[in-house]
Every structure is written in C-alpha cells, then in structure tokens.
C-alpha cells in the first residue's frame, strides 16, 4: 500500500483553470505527477456521467475546476457546473461513492500556485483513502 500512487483525472475549463495550470508551469512550481488534465471549453460542458466513467475505469480521484463565480468566459457555465455538482454529490453519496475523492474547485488564470496546492492536497487525500475499486465491484455485482 505504501507504494500506492493514485490516478487523478482533472476536468478543467480552457479559460481559467487550464490557463492557471499553464501559469503553474511558467512559474516552475512543482506538484505531484499523478494528475492528468482533460481540457474542456467550460465546466458547464462537463457531463457528470464522465466522472462515473472515470471511476469505473480506475480513477482514484477527480478534480473539476473552472472559473470563479462571475468570471466565466461564457457568463454562467460555472454556475451550471456548480449546481450540477451539488446534485451529483447527493447522487454519488447515495450510490456509495466516497465524495471526498472528488474535488470541486475554482482556479483562475492567475492562480498558478493554487493549482499546485489543489493537486497536491487532492493527491495526498486520495493517497490516504487508498485505491478505489468499490465502483468496479459494485458495477460487477449489479451486472450479475
């Protein structure tokens, strides 16, 4: 278990968090290499079924991050994402998914250091939680 390295998938918007993560790079701030960033135009585009797909495929943790409230490039996509997350969190809890594995956040294009902190804290938390295979077991048992 001590060798466990969690797989984290980050779903981020193009305008704030992706640019913020670019700034982390430009500022040469180091963070854990466990994260893989998937770029979206807006967090409003993120279909939360994708989170379930990621868990079912073996993700141990997920980050969803976009623009701060009122800063959305598309005016209101981040509000839709927030509302969807509030609803999805209840569903995930009901399904027995550990919601602590999902980190919903806002990182602006100017917050390079915040992105590094966000990744590191998520990786550390998920590392403590251990690998995630409950979803696959659950899916397998319901299939039978």
């Amino acid at each position: 278990m001590s060798e466990f390295e969690p797989k984290i998938v980050a779903f981020v918007c193009n305008w704030c968090t992706y640019a913020g993560a670019d700034l982390t790079g430009t500022s040469r701030i180091k963070y854990a290499p466990n994260v893989r960033i998937v770029r979206f135009p807006c967090t409003g585009r993120i279909d939360f079924m994708l989170l379930l797909k990621a868990f079912s495929q073996g993700a141990d943790g997920i980050i969803v991050s976009g623009c701060h409230p009122n800063d959305c490039h598309y005016t209101s996509g981040n509000f839709h994402a927030r509302r969807r997350w509030m609803a999805f969190r209840n569903l995930a809890e009901f399904m027995g998914i550990e919601v602590e594995r999902i980190q919903f956040s806002w990182v602006s294009a100017a917050e390079g250091a915040k992105w590094a902190d966000l990744v590191n804290s998520t990786v550390n938390r998920v590392r403590e939680l251990g690998p995630y295979d409950a979803y696959r077991q659950m899916a397998a048992s319901s299939w039978q």
Binding site: E5, V9, R28, R39, C42, H73
Partner: protein, 665 residues
C-alpha cells in the same frame, strides 16, 4: 483506419531535459492507428514545421498530435501547418508536455509515463476528430451607438468617418450628455460647450449618422454582424420636419416653474422646452407630465403661437427597426444626489450641493449666468467647503471604488471659485489627492499654491445649520486628527459617480455582464477593455466605470477602431467549436425530443426551435436547432441534454469519453 502522426518536441531543454522524448515517440508508435511518430528539438521552428508538412504528405496522415507546449501558445501555429499541408486544421491537437508536465515535475520515469499518457489521450481524441470548417456569417455594416454624450459622439463620428453608417440613440431630447453641463474642463480650463457643441453639430449634419434623440432601446436580438434592433422614439408632441426651432412656443408656455434637468434643478424650464440653447437637435419637446394640456385638458398655447403648425398633441411613441452589425454602449453614468448623505443633511440644506450642480452655477449659461451665487438666497458665498470622496471609497456607503474624476474637478471648482470670488476662501477636505494624468498633478498644485485653496486632509463627519451658516465639522488628520470646524456659506460634495438608473435592465437587453455596482463589464480588464463578452457589443466611456473626458474619448475611438475593423470584412469567420443537434433519418429525424432544456441553459439565446415538416408540409416534430452565429461553444447545453441529442464540435461525447478511457487504460 486512422493514420495519426505524433510529433514530440524537446523545446530545447524545456521538455527534453525532464521527459525522455525519444521514449515518448517510441511508445506512441505502438498505439493502434499511429502511422508516424518522431521527436525533434524544436517543432515550432521552420525545420520542425517542414518535418510535419512532409510527414503529412508522405504518410497520408489523417490526424496530427503535436506534443509540445500549451495549445494556448502554439495551437494556431500547428493548425496552420496542417492546413497548409492539405489537412483540415481541426484534425490537429496538442498535448501539453511543457506547462503541464516537464516544467512542473522532476525528471523521472513517472514524468515520462505521464507524458506518454497525455499524448495517448490526445491520439484517441484526434482519431475521433471531424474536419470542421470555420463558420462564415455576413456583416451588416451599420453600427448602433447607445448614448449621445461625449463618448457616444466620438464613437459615432469615428465610425461614420470610416465610411460606415451609424445610428445614434439618445434618451434625452438633446445629445451632449454630462459634458454639455460642465463649465470649464480640467486641466486646461477650456470651456466645455465651446469644444463640445461643434461636435454635436457635426453629428447632426453627418451624412452617415442617423440621429434618434428622445429615444430608447426597446430590444436587441441577433448576433455579431447581424443584430436586429427596435428603438422607441418617444413622442415629442411635435412634427420635427415642420418645426424651425424658433422657440416661440417655449417663451409663451405659461407653465414656467418646472425644475430644469439640465440645470440640475437649480433653474426652471417650461413644459414645452429645449434643454439648453445649443441643443442638437434644436427642437422642443412637450413634457407630458407637467404640460397643462395633458394634465388638465386645456391650454394649447404653443399650438396657437406656432408659426408652422408643428405641434402634435396626439402624437404617439413610434417603434423603428434597424439591422446593425455592431453595438457601442456609451450610456454614461450619473452622480449621487446630496440626499444620499444623512450626515450632510439628507439633501435638505439648499446650500449643500453636489459637484454637477456647482458646474451649473459656474457655467456662463447656467441659472446664475456664471456668477457664483448660493441657491438659498442668491448671496455670493464668502466661504466654500468642498468635500472630496463623498460616498466614494467608502464601504459603509456601499461604494468601495474611487470615482476617479472628483479630485480633479474639486481642484477645478475651488480654482474657478477663487477666480470668480477673489476675496473668498475655499477649503477642500480630501482623503488623498489622486491626480494621475497628463498635467493633472500640476493642476492640483496650482490650485493649492497659486490660488491658495486650503486643502485639509481629513473627513467631514457632520454638517448642520447655525445662524444662516453651514457648520462643517471635520478632522485634520495631518494635525493628529485635530477637530476642524468651518462656518461655510456653501458646501459642494464631490459625490460618487454611479451607474445610470436602468443600467441593469439595459445590460440584460444587450446580454452584457455588469458588476455589483451595475457598471458594464469588459471582456478582459487589461487586454480587451472595449469589448464585452458578447461578441459585437462594445463599450465606451463611463458606463464601464467613472472616467474623465480624455479617457472617455480615447476609449470611444478605440471602440470605433474595433467596429471599423469588424466592418472591414464582408464576412466574419468564427471558430467552428459550436454545438449541433443531431439529425437522423425519418421517421425519427433527430433524437431530440424537443424538451428545450438546452434553451434555458444557453447563455447566448443560441437555441432556436426548428419545425420538421413532412412532404405534405405538416409539422411532424419540433426540435432544437443551434444558431451557429450566436453559439460561443461553451457546451452547457450538451451537459444538460437528457437524450444526448446535442453535441459540441471539437469536444464531442465520443472524443471526451475516449480520452478518459485511454487515460485510465
């Protein structure tokens, strides 16, 4: 079968020193569908680009992944390379190995593994990319300018002089805005009307400008290059074509005791009136709220005296429609009234006035004809106290921001007062003197040093009346907060500049965002200061935040340049990253069930209803349809759609699910 080319860039040492690029290229060669995979020192260099071009031709590639820096940096470069090689540019994707990998991780196998994952993810995406074509939309080369103050005038003239048609809409009976109310302008002390009125006349006479005064925006629909606007022309109760502007009606109108808006309530006007002598157009309007005929049903004196029979009591509001390609919002600002300040007497002291009122008192065309007389008894004030930051920079008042113009106009007021009343004493209470601008600091120094205006650094806590004097109680913070009490004859508050009433409603009509103070928000605070987040809608002047005249004029010209650039094209090209509703064969036609949840989610009103008819012309189904000109490609509708009938080009379900599957495989 896909034939994908992978091009791994070392970016010199930037990627190459941390990531084993050769291993990345080798690993990618093994991915099914990858026909070509190489690494090179600088992909963005000329030889690097040539290498990609040749590989596309030789290997007949159907897609390209460039693993290099951030797509925000070089995506346009590599898409152009593909396009030049005959490959659709949207079949090119970039894996971000620099900002998201080599620069943020230590050199190790883990880092190289991550790099491979990132490239493999994009390979799976690019396999599912479809050729996309930029969307072309026509441009109507007419601009709508809202607001006829100095910003609107400048923008309208600049656009019209560039050879384009302009429709200028002003809410009041005359153009001119706040600038026409000012006495003299800082830092040169030239007369405001002398420099403004020629421009007002130019607007009225310009062959490219259609002027609608006493009119308001009713609605705006459509999208960049293709807006449809409806303008409400409020009834002037006058046939403008017949009216010669002789002014006989205004002199004969018996109702003469109406506070004049132009003179900020300090002067009176008649019910049929021209706001000020230099008004453009110089045609009166009947104020139906106060006109005796409209309130009591008799009078009609103006009708009797009019030599051209131009009065039309039965005139109604008219709606005019226009098609425009761009909108310039230059609706300006307003200043807080004195009744906003309980500590300064709730506006009940006649001799506590705001800065705009003092402008009218100083103005040669004002109610006192330029003589400084106080409103209560018409005496010349011997002692005048100016209070800067009245409301501004005061979170307790809900106005945290600096109104920017007050330091300068307060110095100007004090100076002009001293020029007119030589023996008078002027005091200015201030927090800081913010005089940043060309010749600005010199100007405030001149007020202090040459005109001997007494500047006191501190706040005024209270104003009250005693024996016909206004007692101003404050503190001098440079003298250890020593209490100061001044017996003043007149107090001028430099009240905060705030958004116009109705700014919120206008913003909603225009679909532009506004901040918590109802000022309109620009697309980017530094790099796109005149654009809004709605393409084709631009900002000029103080509707964005309080601004002085040079700044407003500068921004208006900037906006005009943006509009002229837009109008220099016959067609606009837009990124094809837009949503589409699927279409299938009959009898289904589309999996869309017409719930229109997408419509409520769309921030751009881009979702329309499409009726599908059979060959007999009967409507068999109503489904959603995305207007590609309006769609900005956020994809919020995609996540909303219950039946997965709407998808975002460039970020389709197929693509993003494939990315996630590949990452975790």
């Amino acid at each position: 079968m896909a034939r994908i080319g992978v091009f791994v860039c070392h970016c010199g040492e930037n990627i190459g020193a941390t990531v084993d690029c050769a291993r990345v290229a080798e690993a990618c060669r093994k991915i099914p569908g990858v026909a070509h995979s190489v690494d090179y020192k600088y992909m963005c260099s000329d030889p690097g680009q040539t290498l990609i071009r040749e590989a596309i031709a030789q290997n007949k590639l159907t897609g390209v992944v460039v693993a290099a820096c951030s797509p925000r940096m070089h995506e346009p470069t590599f898409r152009r390379v593909c396009s030049e090689s005959g490959l659709n540019p949207y079949l090119c994707e970039m894996a971000n190995l620099r900002e998201h990998c080599s620069w943020v991780h230590e050199k190790s196998d883990v880092t190289t593994d991550k790099a491979i994952d990132l490239v493999a993810m994009l390979v799976e995406k690019v396999k599912r990319n479809k050729p996309l074509h930029p969307i072309k939309v026509p441009v109507t080369k007419t601009a709508l300018v809202l607001g006829g103050g100095i910003s609107g005038i400048q923008a309208a003239l600049d656009i019209a002089n560039a050879g384009h048609k302009v429709i200028l809409v002003e809410r009041d009976p005359s153009i001119g805005g706040h600038m026409s109310q000012l006495s003299e302008t800082f830092p040169t002390l030239d007369c405001s009307q002398c420099i403004l009125t020629p421009r007002m006349v130019e607007v009225a006479q310009h062959p490219n400008i259609t002027l609608y005064t006493y009119s308001e925006l009713e609605s705006l629909d459509g999208f960049i290059g293709n807006f449809k606007t409806r303008i409400r022309k409020k009834a002037r109760s006058l046939d403008e074509k017949l009216c010669t502007g002789c002014g006989l009606c205004t002199t004969k109108c018996p109702n003469k005791k109406i506070p004049s808006e132009f003179n900020t309530g300090l002067g009176m006007r008649t019910a049929i009136y021209v706001p000020f002598p230099q008004a453009v157009p110089n045609k009166p309007v009947i104020d139906r709220e106060h006109c005796t005929y409209y309130t009591k049903g008799r009078c009609r004196v103006c009708e009797k005296v009019c030599p051209t029979q131009a009065i039309r009591f039965d005139q109604e509001d008219q709606i005019v429609e226009h098609e425009v390609g761009a909108v310039v919002v230059a609706t300006g600002f307003t200043v807080k009234e004195t009744d906003f300040f309980p500590e300064y007497g709730y506006g009940k002291y006649k001799d506590v006035i705001n800065g705009l009122q003092f402008e009218r008192i100083l103005s040669a065309s004002g109610p006192t004809l330029g003589e400084v007389k106080r409103p209560s008894d018409g005496r010349v004030p011997e002692t005048v106290v100016f209070i800067a930051c009245a409301g501004s920079r005061d979170p307790a008042k809900g106005i945290e921001y600096c109104s920017k113009i007050c330091c300068m106009y307060t110095a100007k007021h004090a100076m002009l007062y001293k020029h007119k009343v030589h023996h008078g004493q002027a005091y200015v209470f201030y927090m800081d003197i913010r005089a940043a601008g060309k010749m600005y600091d010199e100007f405030t120094r001149r007020a202090i040093e040459e005109d001997h205006v007494q500047y006191i650094r501190g706040r005024v806590s209270r104003i009250y009346e005693r024996n016909g004097k206004l007692i101003v109680q404050g503190a001098d913070t440079l003298l250890n907060a020593m209490p100061v009490e001044i017996e003043a004859d007149l107090v001028v508050l430099a009240t905060a500049g705030v958004a116009n009433e109705g700014a919120e409603a206008l913003a909603q009509k225009l679909h532009v965002s506004y901040d918590s103070h109802k000022f309109f928000v620009e697309a980017h605070p530094k790099l796109r200061p005149v654009e809004t987040n709605t393409a084709g809608v631009f900002l000029a002047g103080a509707c964005q935040s309080p601004k002085d005249i040079p700044e407003s004029v500068g921004q208006a010209s900037g906006t005009a340049a943006k509009v002229a650039a837009l109008f220099s094209m016959d067609e606009l090209t837009r990124e094809p990253v837009v949503a589409v509703v699927n279409r299938t064969a009959p009898p289904l036609y589309s999996t869309c069930v017409g719930c229109f949840l997408c419509q409520s989610a769309c921030p751009y009103q881009a979702i329309e209803r499409e009726e599908i008819k059979n060959r007999n012309g009967q409507v068999v189904k109503t489904i959603a349809k995305v207007n590609p000109g309006l769609c900005q490609g956020c994809g919020t509708c995609v996540a909303f759609c219950r039946s997965k009938s709407i998808d975002l080009q460039g970020y389709t379900h197929e693509q993003v699910y494939a990315e996630v599957m590949e990452l975790l495989s």
